[in-house]
């Protein structure tokens, strides 16, 4: 199959993403790359390193820290940034700190709004970024299937699904007025399987939480929640049991359910994914709040 002068589908996706990242560097004054520490972010960072080789990416990374991320995520983040020698900006919503926002008390909706959506807007306003690179994929969720690669946002960071700019060939309209911005999604055309295969082929480091291991978890509303943080209410922690689990997506630990699994290696993870019959966002509590919820969040400025 490996004929001369033909790129495999992964090589084509890689080339397309690199083209997009270079376009951002060339066309915007103050770009930033969102770094959520998850597997898609890891791939995106890897691609950004590749795109500007032998130099470094000409933009910083931005992590919106809700203070409720898994501990291992933060450790991984700091180690990775140091290894690669890239700049990292970390932002937490100071109002959220003041209010002592706690998803166990205030619920997922309020926590996500204040610590994620509002925090992101604050960070973007503070940094005056004109382009924000994110790792969203079109196959993740229905409303994303129609998202542009370069997606315009008004000065309130709002997305208007009915008024998107046509996007043709690989030519991207990067013109904006002061205060407006563009969200850029270089992984638009990657699927979950593409991401895993690429991680496997390129040996990209990912957070160990993706691999199965005995971990203390407690069942809350049918989701297995990690119990390794003393901010979790005592009565819940008391119910925690050691189980062999892994996480298919990473976010705030109280909102991210684990799955029971034996998959300890990348091929085993991929095998499990291919044989499983449920999609990856299922572990997330926020998507199912209400039908069309992701679309509503995007209109409000959530990524």
């Amino acid at each position: 199959m490996s004929e001369k002068n033909r790129l495999t589908h992964l090589k084509q996706l890689e080339a397309e993403s690199i083209h997009i990242l270079r376009e951002v560097a060339a066309q915007f004054e103050n770009p930033v790359m969102m770094y959520s520490i998850g597997k898609d972010s890891s791939v995106m960072l890897h691609l950004a390193m590749k795109a500007f080789y032998p130099g470094k990416p000409p933009f910083p990374l931005l992590h919106v820290d809700t203070l409720w991320k898994f501990k291992e995520m933060i450790e991984f983040r700091d180690k990775r940034v140091k290894e690669l020698g890239v700049d990292l900006i970390v932002h937490t919503n100071p109002e959220g700190i003041e209010m002592n926002i706690n998803p166990f008390i205030h619920g997922s909706k309020l926590h996500t709004d204040i610590m994620k959506t509002q925090a992101l807007k604050q960070a973007l306003n503070k940094g005056k970024f004109d382009a924000v690179i994110g790792g969203a994929r079109r196959d993740e969720e229905k409303s994303r299937a129609k998202e542009r690669i370069f997606s315009f946002r008004d000065k309130f960071h709002r997305w208007d699904p009915k008024n998107q700019r046509p996007e043709l060939w690989n030519i991207y309209n990067t013109r904006i007025n002061r205060g407006e911005s563009v969200r850029v999604f270089p992984l638009s055309n990657w699927t979950e399987l593409d991401i895993w295969q690429y991680i496997y082929l390129e040996n990209i480091p990912i957070v160990p939480l993706y691999f199965a291991k005995k971990r203390p978890v407690v069942e809350i509303d049918g989701a297995l929640i990690m119990a390794d943080d003393d901010r979790m209410p005592e009565e819940l922690r008391a119910k925690a049991k050691m189980q062999k689990v892994r996480f298919r997506t990473l976010g705030c630990y109280p909102l991210t359910g684990a799955v029971r699994s034996e998959a300890e290696t990348l091929p085993e993870i991929i095998q499990e994914m291919l044989l499983s019959r449920t999609s990856e966002r299922e572990g997330r509590v926020i998507d199912k709040d209400q039908e069309g919820s992701m679309e509503k969040k995007k209109i409000e400025g959530y990524f």
Partner: protein, 489 residues
């Protein structure tokens, strides 16, 4: 087959799945043609639709369903809430699935005339078009429109899926008469698009194939139909898996639009970009356009994470690789320049003829300045003249002095500076551009270059004062290299 391999030998499976080809296709048809049902079935049968998505759809089918089936595939396919409530699709949606051989990206676009711009958008990145025809209705006005658009956008392969064969009793006669009718129409279309026989100057005539299907029942979509023994070809998915696409890419004319100049340190100056077409080897002589400066390729640097002192390079690269080129000589190159082989000449002109698809609510204004973006070059342009607009249904050419939303016309543009042009039919990447309104920043049109236009510039008449001034400058400031306006032809 591969399912077994996943459970028994995942490493072997991964090895086999590293080397898939990528095929992008567009589906043309309306909801009534069963387009969503077809896509839903492709996704469902290739195990792309997962249990939880399916159970959500089953829930919603009861709420919004417009079919009497158990699962309304259209709901799986229509993303946005507002659309679901109206029961229409308004935008291009991209969907993905994979087989053992290929990864697919579907551009799913609405078929109605008011969404012509969405179809053009979807067609712009596709290698192939699936045109759906309802077996009960045959070739309709919209079939003509869809065929015109995919041909205009230079799609190389058309497969006509004649759907709802179950409703016409799986009749071979129905299939045959629709096929004949389509081919007759397509001949006329080819003439109207002025295909050149040798494919050199005009359009490439796409390949056209026909498959009788029932998306609802699954005949000839993934499984070969047992109800249509008379059909000897492949079912749709096998057809998509095996159609030859490697020859669709132009590997003979090297084009490299410089995207970004990479200067991480004083010792390295590389020009990054994506090879639009053709191939390049280290040592070959190149010309930079529009300046015309020449040099040789010193290194082709690959994207990499190596931190060693040795650069990661390759002796040869080809489209569509994203690479970084370094040159033997220090010449001035910036974003927007085009690097080509020195022996591959192309026209440089400040006036182009192009087919324009208008995409904005606000109509085209002759004489107004717009920005155009072609590959990595941005420059200003005015529309000087519209030769005609094309009726997308009848293919008639109509006189006009404007283009409204969704209208397509042949225009002459005057550019603020010359660019190196390729006709779209030869090289998509350098023959295509977008038009941007400089006030609203909207993408208002898509353009496909036909040719560099012959300039018929009216000779300007200069005033006495201008001639005097010109003489004065030439006499006293020869180092300015001022042209003699009395000699300009």
């Amino acid at each position: 087959m591969s399912k077994n391999l996943i459970s028994t030998n995942i490493e072997k499976y991964l090895k086999e799945h590293e080397n898939k080809e990528l095929l992008r296709f567009i589906t043309c048809g309306s909801v009534d043609d069963g387009k969503s049902t077809l896509i839903g079935r492709l996704l469902y049968d290739s195990k792309t639709v997962l249990e939880d998505q399916l159970s959500a759809v089953k829930r919603e089918s009861r709420k919004y369903g417009t079919t009497n089936e158990e699962i309304d595939f259209a709901l799986l396919i229509d993303g946005l809430q507002s659309e679901r409530e109206q029961g229409i699709t308004i935008d291009v949606a991209y969907r993905f699935f994979a087989t053992d051989r290929r990864k697919y990206i579907i551009a799913d676009t609405p078929g109605h005339e008011q969404y012509t711009r969405n179809m053009v958008t979807g067609a712009s990145t596709a290698n192939l078009a699936v045109i759906l025809i309802d077996a009960r209705k045959g070739v309709l006005t919209q079939t003509r429109r869809h065929s015109y658009i995919v041909s205009l956008l230079g799609i190389r392969h058309i497969v006509v899926a004649i759907n709802k064969m179950d409703i016409v009793g799986y009749s071979e006669d129905v299939y045959k008469s629709i096929k004949e009718e389509y081919l007759k129409m397509f001949e006329k279309l080819s003439e109207s698009l002025q295909y050149a026989q040798n494919g050199k100057s005009g359009y490439h005539k796409p390949t056209v194939d026909f498959i009788p299907i029932s998306a609802l029942k699954g005949d000839n979509v993934v499984q070969k139909s047992t109800n249509m023994q008379w059909y000897e070809g492949k079912p749709l998915l096998e057809y998509l898996d095996t159609i030859e696409i490697s020859k669709d890419i132009n590997l003979s004319d090297f084009r490299f639009p410089v995207q970004y100049v990479n200067r991480p340190n004083l010792d390295f100056r590389g020009f990054t970009g994506t090879i639009t077409s053709g191939r390049i080897r280290v040592g070959e002589e190149i010309t930079v356009l529009p300046s015309g400066k020449k040099s040789r390729i010193k290194e082709i640097v690959l994207p990499s994470l190596e931190s060693g002192s040795e650069l990661v390079t390759t002796p040869e690269a080809f489209a569509p690789m994203a690479v970084t080129l370094t040159l033997e000589d220090e010449i001035d190159i910036s974003r927007g320049d085009l690097i080509v082989h020195s022996n591959n000449s192309l026209t440089t002109s400040d006036s182009i003829e192009a087919m324009i698809v208008w995409m904005d609510e606000k109509a085209l204004e002759l004489g107004r300045e717009y920005e155009i973006k072609r590959a990595t070059t941005s420059l200003n342009a005015i529309f000087e003249e519209i030769a005609f607009k094309k009726d997308v249904n009848s293919w008639e050419e109509i006189k006009t002095d404007t283009l409204e939303l969704n209208e397509i016309g042949k225009c002459r543009l005057l550019l603020t500076r010359p660019i190196a042009c390729d006709p779209y039919s030869k090289i998509k990447g350098t023959g295509s551009f977008i038009v941007i309104d400089k006030i609203t920043n909207h993408t208002v049109a898509a353009g496909m270059i036909l040719d560099a236009a012959k300039r018929e510039r009216k000779k300007r008449v200069y005033t006495e004062a201008e001639i005097e001034l010109n003489r004065y400058i030439r006499k006293h400031f020869p180092e300015w290299g001022c042209a003699n306006i009395e000699e300009i032809k």
